[in-house]
């Protein structure tokens, strides 16, 4: 397809008609700055082909502000050697005419013919979009869109495959991609893309089926359980009815009763045996008592005889006990006399000794009394002296501070006097003898001097009076101070009772002397009476009293001594007296001891006699009692009774023993333990049956109620509903499964077939592409993928020589510029492929390759020049300088519009 003329009118910025003719069958370069109308021209070509002339969505084709415009595009071109003309007018005048050689078609038919010829489709509604553009969309590169290859190829895929069939000898599928997309979409509703697992409605249907199947299983189980229990109910009812009729526990109750009765009889025998044994025990006890009673009577007789013998023995014993008493009594009289004698002797000895001692003591007391009196006298004298001195000292006492004060005052007064004297008005007078003056009332005569300390009045007899006032201010003050001092001194002296300071001094001396004397006197007194004079006096009184007492004691003792002359005489010598006392004491003690020993012996003899007497009396009493017992009036009868009772009781004992034996044998034969077990066994059997009966009845009631309530739940009805729902769900799941499987199969088949077809297209496309590629990247090669889009690019590493390393990278990973270049190359390769298949090709590049550097652009120019030998290429650019060496003349759009 070669465009020869383009005419645009009332089309966007081309308000006036613009016509470009004599287009080159190869390269055509259109230049112009921005807004010059390059893109509008491209848009006009696109609109002429892609947009329906009746479309209401092409308002943008109209020049601004020209609602009445009828945008028109007219294209002359050559197709398969035939001249063609397309004239399309939009909006205001909707018109489309296509001439192919001599044939003319109009309207929609013309548009469909074009679409079929070029391999694109029209939009169903609205403006045409990239997805409709098919092959022209691939070959007509929009501004900045060279690199967006995959989308363009995708939109052109079916057209390409279809268009290339002739070259390949293959039949492509019409709308195959669309169909595949539909199948994939429908499959995707039911199966996951990755694993082909159920999803969406299919999954829900499977889940619903499984859920209902589960529910059905549960209901089946419940129904089976219910049925089992209904059967159990019937069985229970039968058993219960049979039980009610038979009442099998009754027989056991009867057996139990019989056994119990037999057991009761045995128990009665056992009671009898026990009673018999009790009675036997009583009889045994009674027998023992009787035996002891009889023995007692015998013992009484023996005791009476024994008592009589005992009495005789006691009497003999008394006699023998009384024999030593007389001897002991005589001995005691002698010993008492000897003791009396010894005591008299001792008394006398002691009296003598006491007198001597008193006499000595009285003499000593007297001596001590005399000495004490002398000492007391001296001490009292010394004491009187001390008292006198103490008085004297106290009278003379002057405190050193007072004395000091007096002395100080005296010195101060003396100083004052001197000052006064110094300041005083001296009045010296020398009077004629006999003549007197009277100074302040005091007569002056002779010569003398007076010092006037104060105003004085000097009477001159006969003459009057002189008033003398001493000068000097401080004289009065001195006088005042002096008066003060004197007054204070005077007061002190008065208080101390002294006439003057000298007297004070004297008294002080006197006081010191008296103090010394007092100390001496006190020391004397201390020596004489260390404990004080009063102690001395008391001691003296005590000694006096003792002396008096000793004298008195002696006086008292002296009298008896004189009365007992002989004894006193014998005791005159003091030492002998003392010795005699000791001896007398020893003798007295010996005598006393002898007496005590004899007394003891006597006492023992007396005691023995008394004991013997008592024993005798007791023996006599016992004998009397025994004899009285034997002599009791009932005794003989009682002895006879006891003997008879003993015989009877022995007989009963034998009878009881025989009966016990018989009873025990009878009981043993009846086996009460086994009888007891029988009763238990029968009772337990009966109870068990009764209990089972009752339990069964309860179970029946329970089961009936349960079944009634469960029956009301309509289990089987629910199961039927569930089964119905499940069948439906299963059917739906099966339908969806079949659909999913069919879709899955369809998709894989479609994919396989499409891929197989695509592979056949890949090789020629690759051949063309690689040819261009060598111009751009020497020794590089590129793979074509399933979508007929350039895939990984393999080329030598930059800087490596031939045989060096290679690098491989995806088309998408290339730089923008490289992708743009690859995009153009790929499109040219497609164009070659289409041309080989005899399909029309027209390549339009709107400002393409602006991202290429100079070197690459140079290569691209070589590529384009080569391609232009096979295809018509319209190249629009705003960089005329960059394309100057393209080998074709550039047409300036601005210039064209100016024409």
């Amino acid at each position: 397809m070669k465009l020869t003329r383009i005419r645009v009118d009332q089309f966007r910025q081309f308000r006036r008609a613009l016509e470009i003719d004599r287009l080159d069958p190869g390269l055509n370069l259109f230049t112009g700055p921005n807004e010059a109308g390059k893109s509008t021209l491209v848009a006009a070509i696109r609109a002429a082909f892609f947009e329906r002339h009746r479309s209401a969505s092409v308002d943008d084709l109209r020049p601004w502000g020209d609602p009445a415009a009828a945008p028109t595009v007219a294209l002359d071109f050559e197709l398969d050697g035939q001249p063609c003309r397309l004239v399309k007018t939009f909006l205001a005048k909707k018109r489309c005419t296509l001439q192919i050689g001599s044939e003319t078609v109009d309207g929609e038919e013309a548009e469909n013919r074009l679409a079929a010829l070029l391999g694109f489709q029209h939009a169903g509604r609205g403006a045409s979009k990239a997805e409709h553009w098919g092959i022209p969309g691939l070959l007509w590169i929009e501004q900045g869109g060279a690199q967006a290859l995959r989308e363009a190829v995708g939109h052109a895929g079916d057209h390409l495959r279809g268009a290339l069939e002739r070259a390949l000898g293959e039949v492509a599928a019409s709308g195959g991609d669309a169909l595949l997309a539909t199948v994939e979409a429908q499959r995707a509703e039911l199966l996951t893309e990755a694993g082909g697992r159920p999803r969406g409605a299919y999954k829900e249907a499977l889940e619903a089926e499984a859920a209902l199947a589960g529910e059905l299983g549960v209901l089946d189980d419940a129904i089976a359980r219910y049925r089992q229990r209904v059967d159990a109910l019937a069985a229970l009812r039968d058993e219960h009815a049979a039980d009610e009729a038979e009442q099998p526990w009754r027989a056991f109750r009867t057996h139990q009763q019989a056994a119990a009765e037999r057991l009761a009889a045995v128990r009665e025998r056992e009671a009898m045996l026990a009673a018999t044994r009790t009675r036997a025990a009583q009889v045994d006890a009674q027998l023992a008592l009787l035996r002891s009673q009889v023995d007692g009577f015998a013992r009484e007789d023996e005791a009476a005889a024994a008592r009589a013998a005992a009495l005789e023995a006691a009497r003999a014993a008394l006699d023998s006990a009384r024999a030593p008493l007389e001897h002991w009594t005589a001995q005691r009289v002698q010993a008492a006399q000897a003791l009396e004698t010894a005591r008299a002797t001792l008394r006398a000895a002691r009296q003598a000794e006491a007198r001597d001692s008193l006499a000595r003591e009285a003499a000593a007391s007297h001596a001590r009394h005399a000495a004490g009196a002398a000492q007391l006298a001296r001490a009292e004298a010394a004491h009187a002296q001390v008292l006198a001195l103490q008085h004297a000292v106290a009278a003379n006492e002057l405190r050193p501070a007072d004395l000091q004060t007096l002395r100080t005052q005296d010195r101060a007064l003396a100083d004052l006097r001197l000052q006064q004297a110094a300041a005083a008005t001296r009045l010296v007078y020398v009077l004629e003898p006999g003549r007197t003056l009277e100074l302040d009332g005091a007569p002056l005569s002779g010569a003398g001097e007076r010092r006037l300390l104060a105003a004085a009045s000097l009477v001159l007899p006969g003459f009057g009076r002189l008033q003398i006032a001493p000068g000097g201010a401080d004289l009065a003050a001195l006088a005042a101070r002096g008066a003060d001092l004197e007054a204070r001194q005077q007061a002190l002296l008065v208080r101390l009772g002294l006439g003057s300071v000298d007297a004070a001094e004297r008294r002080q001396l006197e006081h010191a002397r008296l103090g010394g004397e007092l100390a001496t006197a006190q020391a004397t007194l201390e020596a004489l009476a260390p404990g004080g004079i009063d102690a001395l006096r008391a001691e003296h009184a005590r000694l006096q009293a003792r002396a008096a007492e000793a004298a008195q004691a002696l006086a008292r003792l002296a009298a008896p001594a004189s009365a007992e002359g002989e004894a006193a005489a014998s005791a005159s010598a003091a030492p002998s007296a003392a010795a005699s006392v000791i001896e007398a004491e020893a003798a007295e003690k010996a005598a006393a001891d002898a007496l005590a020993a004899i007394q003891e012996g006597l006492h023992r003899a007396q005691l023995a006699a008394a004991n013997a007497e008592t024993a005798l009396a007791a023996a006599a009493r016992e004998l009397a009692a025994a004899r009285a017992q034997l002599a009791a009036p009932e005794r003989a009868r009682r002895v006879a009774d006891a003997s008879a009772a003993l015989t009877d009781t022995r007989a009963e004992q034998l009878t009881l023993a025989a009966r016990s034996e018989a009873l025990a044998a009878e009981i043993a034969a009846a086996r009460p333990d086994i009888l007891e077990q029988d009763v238990d066994r029968f009772r337990s059997s009966a109870e068990q049956l009764e209990r089972r009966h009752a339990e069964r009845r309860d179970q029946l009631v329970r089961l009936e109620i349960e079944l009634q309530s469960e029956g009301a739940q309509g289990l089987e009805a629910r199961r039927a509903e569930c089964a119905r729902d499940h069948a439906w769900a299963a059917r739906r799941a099966a339908e969806l499964r079949r659909r999913a499987q069919a879709l899955d199969l369809l998709r894989s088949l479609l994919r396989d077939q499409r891929r197989a077809l695509t592979r056949r297209l890949q090789a020629p496309l690759q051949k063309h592409l690689n040819r261009y590629l060598q111009l751009l990247f020497p020794h590089a090669c590129v793979d074509i993928d399933d979508d007929l889009v350039p895939g990984p690019l393999t080329r030598p590493l930059a800087g490596a020589g031939a045989g060096g390393g290679v690098e491989t990278g995806d088309f998408e990973a290339l730089s923008f510029g490289a992708r743009e270049q690859m995009g153009v190359l790929s499109r040219l390769a497609y164009a070659d492929l289409l041309a080989e298949a005899g399909r029309p090709t027209l390549v339009i590049l709107d400002d393409a390759l602006v991202h290429s550097d100079a070197e690459r652009l140079a290569q691209m120019k070589r590529v384009l020049f080569d391609a232009a030998t096979r295809h018509q290429i319209l190249l629009f650019t705003c960089h005329p300088a960059a394309w100057r060496d393209l080998g074709t003349g550039a047409r300036s759009l601005a210039a064209l519009r100016a024409d």
Partner: protein, 389 residues
């Protein structure tokens, strides 16, 4: 002259899972309607009693509402109804009957024969010997006692039983609940009213299966009926007439398509279905796309008319003709895909073959859905696009 209605196998509460839910509901409902119709017929024919030979209920534990509805449906006939427990509603220790009694649902004129004991309908002149099932299934002949039971000579002797007559119903030879083939004669019965077999069936002059009053399956034939029995006197042969009671006609239709006219014939049959038809359609053989399309269209239309139509076309193989393929514009590899699917539907593995058939139908449908204009354009030029989507 005693006259009674003999019916059986009402199967109240039965549901039909093989149909769409709304259709199944209507079919379940129809069973109540059939009973109402029976009551009306009893009234119209002024019968002396209605004898129901078992399987009144389809299950023991049906909803209370179902029990009430059933007994309410009997209201149209005030005379005596004798209901016999069958294998579906046996008189177990706890059964639908005990529950109905507890619910006080059973009207006084309805008698449930729960025990094997003669029931004397003096006014009607009928002595009924019932053989109720007291277990779900039994292998004893429950009618054995009939022979030994004496009934007043003035009354006609009618046996009422539910089970399989031995040696007659070949497919039920091993079935439970056997009934001796000569029971009517051996027990001196004037008539033996049987249930269990869902179609009306005469065993001998005195022994009949009434069949279910409303058809419930495709298999049974001659169902949807009840029997009007007249006995002139004890010993006389019964006059049995068949009354139609059912509404729905259950039909299992299977067709093997080989040539185009087979399709026409099937279509004609489908066109004949009306609102009372319940149809199960199974189609096998082979068909071209056009035939398949016509068939599916016809099935769709028949579905709209019939009460219910279940169609299974899985066995039908698609054999697209050249014209079909042209019509579908299945050029290029699409044609290849169709060829492969066509081959695969004859595969040895049934599931895979089925999938291939399904895929083929699906593909044909998708291709047909493409706009005819586009398809036309595609035919006009192989290079044409797939058309508007």
């Amino acid at each position: 002259m005693p006259r009674f209605l003999h019916t059986a196998d009402w199967q109240i509460g039965k549901l039909f899972g093989q149909f769409e839910p709304d259709e199944a509901a209507l079919l379940a409902e129809a069973r109540f309607v059939a009973v109402e119709r029976l009551a009306r017929l009893a009234q119209e024919h002024a019968v002396d009693a209605v004898l129901v030979a078992g399987d009144v209920f389809d299950a023991q534990t049906v909803a209370d509402r179902t029990i009430h509805r059933l007994f309410n449906a009997l209201a149209g006939f005030a005379g005596p109804w004798l209901l016999l427990p069958g294998n579906h509603d046996a008189a177990l220790a706890e059964s639908v009957w005990t529950r109905a009694a507890r619910l006080r649902a059973i009207p006084p004129n309805v008698r449930v024969c729960r025990e094997a004991r003669p029931v004397l309908l003096e006014a009607a002149g009928i002595a009924v010997l019932p053989a109720p099932l007291t277990q779900r299934n039994t292998f004893n002949d429950l009618t054995e006692w009939f022979a030994g039971a004496d009934t007043p000579p003035a009354l006609v002797r009618v046996g009422l039983a539910h089970g399989s007559v031995q040696g007659i119903l070949a497919e039920d030879i091993d079935a439970a609940n056997p009934i001796a083939a000569d029971r009517a004669a051996s027990a001196r019965l004037d008539y033996l009213a049987l249930g269990d077999w869902h179609g009306t069936r005469r065993i001998d002059a005195r022994c009949w299966y009434a069949g279910t009053p409303e058809t419930d399956r495709f298999r049974a034939n001659d169902s949807g009926q009840a029997l009007l029995v007249e006995l002139a006197a004890p010993g006389a042969l019964p006059a049995v007439s068949v009354l139609a009671t059912g509404r729905y006609r259950w039909q299992a239709l299977s067709a093997e398509l080989q040539v185009a006219s087979d399709v026409d014939r099937l279509l004609a049959e489908l066109a004949g279905f009306g609102a009372d038809d319940v149809v199960q359609l199974e189609v096998g053989g082979r068909s071209d796309l056009a035939g398949h399309r016509r068939l599916t269209d016809a099935i769709g239309q028949a579905r709209g008319r019939a009460r219910s139509l279940v169609a299974e076309l899985g066995a039908l193989q698609l054999e697209p003709t050249v014209a079909d393929l042209e019509g579908l514009a299945a050029d290029g590899y699409l044609g290849e895909v169709i060829a492969r699917l066509q081959a695969a539907q004859h595969g040895a593995e049934p599931a895979a073959a089925q999938t291939a058939r399904d895929a083929l139908v699906l593909l044909a449908g998708l291709l047909e859905c493409r706009s005819p204009a586009a398809a036309g354009a595609a035919v006009a030029s192989a290079a044409a696009p797939g058309g508007d989507r």
